[in-house]
Symmetry: C3
Subunit: 373 residues, 3 copies
């Protein structure tokens, strides 16, 4: 390729972290509750369409539904209802141009599309990312704490046979200040026993268990994703700075298994540093990319200050709303493409370099790290 399209409209993409689509029709309140990381619009603060992502929906999505760009929210939602969720989902996903979806199947607050269903809407293929805590809770519910470590390893090996990687949500449960060392089985069994002895619903929220889960993934050679940074109101964001993972990253680097730091905003410069100094660390700014709307390029520019271009990935982290898959990809394409084109205009790099770097970040790095080839 010798030309650089500043919109990177045809750039092949691997979306290395996303979820399934909701298939039901949505009220305005339902739509707004899925638009950002807020539970929904606040009586004190007005509509969430008055936000970067809300304006981005109005800019980019109406034309996909045969309306003019910037259509008012009410008109857009009426048209959405008229077409029905299935048709909207089909149109939006087809417009993403995503070739491969790595789908986290561990978050199911309501029935959503399977990985295969999601991918088929875009004419792409899917691979699964297995959520470690969900699997651990399943295994914990089935037997005694004493042999939990062994049972978990067996189950994880079986469950990830066709998977592309695993994911930890330690960030949501205990934060990311995890020690690095691999806990031994006796220590893990004691932690499992404490959890089961508690008698309540089985919910992993113990640093020993989170570390065990991560190490179990690494020992299988499975790339390990971490939720980092930006999330909903359940997250204690100050406990989710990726720098808090430093000990664990130092300890796991020799294994040579990729660790993927997801989202990272507003700590994405911290993540870029980690991607530079630790050979196995990959980073993205998914979720933020669509939430910050036309500022997506500004956030990518900061990530790419220190992060080597061979260590940066694309993800949408879209969940539920078809619009988020489209915006996640489109704002990534535009943000990265315009940055690379500006660099060419300023003679910071050549067109050939820019095209090659776009290819790495869009798909090449993910194909290498997850061995998708």
């Amino acid at each position: 390729m010798s030309d650089l399209d500043p919109d990177l409209a045809d750039l092949p993409l691997v979306d290395h972290h996303c979820h399934g689509l909701v298939r039901r029709d949505l009220t305005r309140a339902g739509f707004e509750s899925m638009l950002t990381e807020a539970a929904g619009p606040s009586a004190l603060g007005g509509s969430l369409f008055d936000s970067q992502v809300g304006l981005a929906v109005r800019r980019w999505c109406p034309p996909v539904l045969d309306l003019p760009a910037h259509a008012p929210a009410g008109q857009y939602l009426d048209r959405r209802a008229e077409l029905g969720a299935d048709e909207v989902n089909r149109r939006m996903l087809a417009a993403t141009g995503t070739g491969t979806f790595l789908v986290d199947t561990g978050y199911l607050p309501e029935p959503i599309t399977s990985p295969a269903e999601l991918a088929s809407l875009a004419g792409g293929r899917a691979r699964e990312i297995v959520r470690l805590e969900a699997l651990a809770e399943e295994v914990l519910a089935e037997g005694a704490a004493g042999d939990f470590p062994e049972r978990f390893r067996t189950r994880l090996a079986a469950r990830t046979a066709g998977a592309a990687g695993v994911k930890s949500i330690a960030a949501y449960r205990v934060g990311l200040a995890l020690e690095g060392t691999r806990p031994d089985d006796a220590e893990v069994a004691r932690a499992a026993d404490r959890l089961l002895a508690g008698g309540g619903p089985i919910r992993v929220a113990d640093p020993v268990l989170h570390r065990f889960l991560v190490w179990s993934g690494i020992e299988l050679g499975m790339p390990v994703q971490f939720h980092v940074g930006y999330g909903d109101a359940d997250v204690d964001l100050h406990r989710c700075d990726p720098l808090l993972l430093t000990d664990l990253l130092r300890a796991t680097e020799p294994a040579g298994v990729p660790v993927m730091l997801l989202h990272n905003y507003p700590f994405h410069r911290h993540a870029g540093f980690l991607a530079q100094v630790f050979g196995h660390v990959f980073v993205d700014v998914g979720l933020a990319t669509h939430n910050v709307g036309h500022r997506s390029g500004a956030v990518l520019r900061e990530l790419l200050e220190l992060a080597p271009f061979g260590k940066v990935l694309f993800s949408s982290d879209a969940f539920g709303l078809a619009e988020l898959y489209l915006l996640g990809t489109l704002l990534f394409r535009r943000g990265l493409g315009r940055y690379l084109a500006e660099g060419v205009a300023e003679d910071a790099w050549t067109t050939a370099d820019a095209v090659r770097i776009a290819g790495l970040i869009g798909a090449g790095n993910a194909e290498r790290a997850y061995r998708l080839g």
Copy 2:
């Protein structure tokens, strides 16, 4: 309104957090000591006119005093002295175009204008913000610890009868890592007793007391302002990240009373996150707006990445120097206006949206949140 003025010169403003004006004439040393958050210029570092806010004073303020833009500091200060503080104050405040001032009356290092005096200089109106710690120290000095909680509540209700809100300076005293739960009266009385037993000057610096003060405001339905982030050398800035308030924000959200996070710089992206995920959180970048000079737009762009446009407020946080009221408003108008105009030029949003959003951030959100109508 169908046009967008990139300077937003006529945008109605509610300055939801500012202080009073100093009325005496000022030496150069006195002027510099009020220009930034430094105590004054340093022998090692030279004049504070060599800073963003210093250059902004020289760019924007001389014409108000009949001098050319960029007049040298010495010439500017001579002219200022010639006109006298009253005339300078009158001219600068009139040039702000601020319609409503919410004035924190709890910081009085020397005689300053009352809220009404301040507002009259700009032809506007004023409402008071009552500083919680100052009132608590007043009440603590008057009686026994045992009935402090009840006496404080009674006093606060009386004192805020005409006020628009209350303000906490926990950031300056103990930092923002406050637990969320409302302390009970016995716990508060014990904390008051510890303070009074100390025997020194009565200075509230106890997490239990700060939490009690905040909850007392919330129970009265008064919007609660928090100093967050940027301040003077008395502040331990690393204890003033707004994310440290997460527990308290989670606990207070159900009450439906607005919480205003002031300043926030350099943690303004963190504040934007909180404004998105907590329905009652409002944010601004006051104080930073004039201190960063012509970078005001850059800071606002970052705040507005996640913060919903219905949750962002304007404040100057000006104290003492008339120039800071003018710069706080002018750099806010220009920073926001140019950002919105660029978004129109890039087709990220429409002119009508931009005009509406400017109206929300300049005044509409404050009018709604503080019920100023």
Copy 3:
């Protein structure tokens, strides 16, 4: 000077923090291992030429070796080998235009140029910066713990007779959350005793000792440099936020001795705050300047939001590779120059102000703070 060159190509520079040059010829692996803060390229992530600094090498360095800009990495390294390290070092250093080098002599992983040798390559002069921990370890190896404080002070006075300053690497050893008070000699002797009693290699990593070293420098009136923020994988970056130094800065300010916060990225806005509110604090963004490549101006813009222009310094923090000295200076010149020129274009300041500010940051502030005159 009445014109402003946006490249500041002739701006006199004091590089107030750098190291020596490696003189041997380098393989590609050897070159890449010195290019960033990574130990070397990762099998998972590809070449480190695919990074901001790698592209900056290819943009700016080939013409110095008679190749076209953007030459491929392989071709560039071949030409480098052909010319030999001595010739490359001579050409690159001459191209920096640096007049004065303050050289940290405490990091010697292999034989490198002395300060005088380094400076002579650029036709400049050199002064030494003495690394506190290295000197302390030397003194500790020579005698009993009991008189360590006194022996250290004597040695430091002798060793710094011709030096420009001292440097602390507490950041690498224990992090920057140091108490402010000067420890007394008995406390220091006990800490020394604990260290010597350990029996292993003598490595200072005790907050009491680091504080003692810093205070010893201050009592001699020697400017004290601190490693802050960005470094290699040995650093726990979350323990290296400059705000963690607040107590120590508060305690040392009355002494009137300059404290220099080095690097600071990604906490450079935090550093800018400290430079504003503490009269003795100076800041830079060395190391980051070349690592972020053509983003150097973006980082400088953020530093200069709050940092007074009389408190900002230039450093390359270059080590080993001649290319890093050139990129550190060139990207600083361009980043600062273009920012200042844009400010003139936007009428934020005058050309005369911009020229004067460039002179302060490039050399004047360092000359004043280190008394280089």
